[in-house]
């Protein structure tokens, strides 16, 4: 379980542009479930997602992953947890331009130092499941939106994460591709991957993969509910 206890997050503390994105939020994310964080822009979904994934530290409060408190961990250990536990899918894909699709997929595994042939084989297998075999050596800037999104998902899976964190994954996809993405998420869920998605897209929020829907507004959780 990933547990956030009474966490708040303030940006630019002490400066004129100080802004508190989260106010004392508590949330338990159960493993093997799909949790959807729902809410309008500026409600704090992305901030909460970043904190749960160890990409930032809360200003106050504690976060535990499987009973391990991560808030006070040194940066080195936090990086290791990010790498081994989470796979991130970003709103803007955040692929590295100038590199090929397969290089982008392999990047998160570089610090593990496993054999190149072994890593490439795994990357090819994952890309094949997303029908990207013919695009492995294409520079990512030449990929279509759907292909780029699938490369981003493949990258999130390269280290066999137990948790997938996706921030507005359908924001830049059309309806067909959004449904396709939800199909991929459904497959991942079926394979036992825990999924946390932040979105205000009805295709995501109303999909049948959601076990829990958490509604946020103004940096607070306003409603917990079970999925459809």
């Amino acid at each position: 379980m990933i547990s956030a206890q009474n966490i708040s997050k303030t940006f630019n503390a002490g400066k004129p542009n100080e802004f508190t994105a989260l106010h004392g939020v508590s949330l338990d994310v159960h493993m093997l479930e799909t949790t959807i964080l729902k809410g309008p822009s500026g409600s704090g979904k992305t901030t909460l997602l970043g904190l749960l994934g160890g990409m930032a530290r809360p200003t106050t409060g504690r976060i535990h992953i499987k009973d391990r408190e991560i808030t006070s961990l040194p940066e080195r250990f936090l990086s290791e947890i990010r790498r081994s536990t989470f796979g991130f899918i970003f709103q803007h894909f955040n692929l590295i331009k100038g590199l090929t699709a397969i290089e982008n997929v392999m990047i998160p595994a570089y610090p593990n130092g496993e054999k190149y042939a072994q890593l490439r084989k795994r990357a090819l297998e994952i890309m094949a499941t997303f029908n990207l075999e013919k695009r492995i050596d294409a520079k990512v800037e030449w990929l279509s939106g759907g292909e780029a999104q699938r490369v981003a998902i493949a990258r999130a899976l390269i280290n066999n994460p137990t948790v997938i964190i996706a921030d507005e994954p359908t924001a830049h996809l059309d309806t067909r591709l959004s449904h396709e993405l939800m199909g991929i998420m459904s497959d991942l869920r079926a394979k036992g991957t825990t999924i946390i998605i932040a979105s205000h897209d009805p295709i995501v929020c109303d999909s049948n993969i959601a076990d829990r829907v958490v509604e946020m507004r103004d940096g607070q959780i306003v409603c917990h509910g079970n999925g459809p």
Binding site: F11, T46, T47, G50, M55, A56, R57, E75, R76, S79, E80, R82, R83, S84, F88, F90, N94, I96, K97, G98, L99, E103, I107, P108, Y110, P111, N112, G113, E114, K115, Y116, R155, N159
Partner: protein
């Protein structure tokens, strides 16, 4: 251990691809950097080689040279001086020398004529330095003509091309017999160009010089240590080091300023954020940037140094020889003997590669220590 090596390899691979992805910026940086290292290295190689050449010149030179001046201008020395100077206590030997210069108006080059103490060429033949041979396109057995003091040309046969450790010493040299020289220069039989002295005790140089001045008020004794000091003032390790440190500091400053001015682009910061977000550690990012800095600065350093070596020792410092040599531009061209002071090269390395690498790593470290979600927002 195997994982650690693979990890380094991945980071190196990534560094190379990162460098190639920013080809434009890195190529221009490499070009500017190489050019600066080239100029600095050329100055270092050139001044050091000249200093070594000067040391070679002075190594076997006389302890004291006695000239005669009249209202500040050099005059021939009467041979009678040699006898009286030899009687000064501490003087081991006195030898009159016959030497001077000849200017070839066609070649626009100055050559040094000299009568050697031993193994004089027979009348009508000469030994020439490599620069003279090159200037006239002459080899052994060929004939060369020089215009004498009366404007008449004397024709000499080349007996030998002088092969010497130092080209600076012999490149422009023409050795000829005493009779030929006197005929050529018009210097009278009882006179010499100057006198060279051997003195037993180096501590007595100045005492002997003072005695000569007292004996012949129109004489000008020049002690070897004075010549050494003159050379040192121009080419010594002190001046070289000052030039080096100043220039290297300037280089470091230029590179630093350039790098700071350009800094990390938004694209680079975003890339670091992505790498951190997907699990790279701060140390991985810093290592990547470290290799990037080393690759650029070391390449520039090596390229600049090798080009400078070729420029100074193979192309006779073609780019700035006239500026550095001053009046000596009248010399026929010569090649400096390759002498490299590795201490100076190491200093240049420290003042160029190290600061650049540090200035590459610091901005990356700053970006890498920020939470990845902040970098990506």
């Amino acid at each position: 251990m195997a994982n650690l090596i693979e990890r380094q390899r991945y980071i190196l691979d990534y560094t190379v691809s990162a460098l190639l992805r920013r080809k434009g910026k890195n190529s221009s940086l490499l070009l500017v950097y190489t050019l600066i290292v080239f100029v600095l290295s050329s100055v270092i190689f050139f001044t050091h080689a000249l200093k070594k050449e000067a040391e070679l010149v002075l190594k076997d030179g006389p302890e004291i040279v006695v000239q005669r001046t009249m209202t500040g201008r050099n005059q021939p020395v009467p041979l009678a001086w040699a006898e009286s100077i030899r009687k000064i206590s501490g003087v081991m030997a006195v030898r009159p020398r016959l030497w001077g210069y000849v200017y070839d108006t066609l070649l626009k080059a100055n050559f040094t004529l000299m009568v050697p103490a031993e193994n004089q060429p027979e009348q009508g033949s000469i030994d020439v330095g490599s620069g003279v041979a090159r200037a006239y396109g002459a080899s052994t057995g060929d004939m060369i003509a020089f215009a004498g003091h009366d404007g008449e040309h004397r024709i000499f046969t080349v007996r030998n091309i002088i092969d010497s450790e130092s080209q600076l010493l012999t490149s422009d040299l023409v050795l000829l017999s005493e009779l030929d020289y006197r005929d050529f220069s018009g210097i009278a039989a009882g006179q010499a160009s100057d006198l060279v002295l051997r003195v037993r005790n180096p501590k007595e140089y100045s005492t002997v010089a003072k005695k000569i001045t007292r004996m012949y008020p129109d004489s000008r004794p020049i002690v070897r240590t004075e010549i050494q000091r003159t050379y040192d003032a121009v080419f010594s390790w002190r001046s070289g080091l000052i030039v080096l440190i100043f220039s290297a500091s300037a280089l470091a400053f230029v590179i630093f300023a350039w790098d700071k001015a350009s800094g990390l682009s938004a694209e680079e910061r975003r890339e670091i954020g992505i790498l951190k977000a997907v699990g790279w550690e701060t140390s991985d990012v810093m290592l990547m940037k470290f290799w990037e800095g080393v690759a650029v600065s070391l390449t520039a350093f090596l390229a600049g140094t090798v080009l400078a070596y070729a420029h100074v020792f193979f192309a006779s410092s073609a780019l700035f020889m006239p500026v550095l040599k001053g009046w000596s531009t009248l010399y026929p061209s010569f090649r400096l003997t390759p002498f490299v002071d590795f201490g100076q090269v190491a200093t240049l390395f420290l003042f160029s590669v190290v600061p650049y690498t540090i200035t590459t790593v610091i901005p990356a470290w700053r970006a890498a220590t920020i939470d990845p979600d902040a970098v990506m927002r």
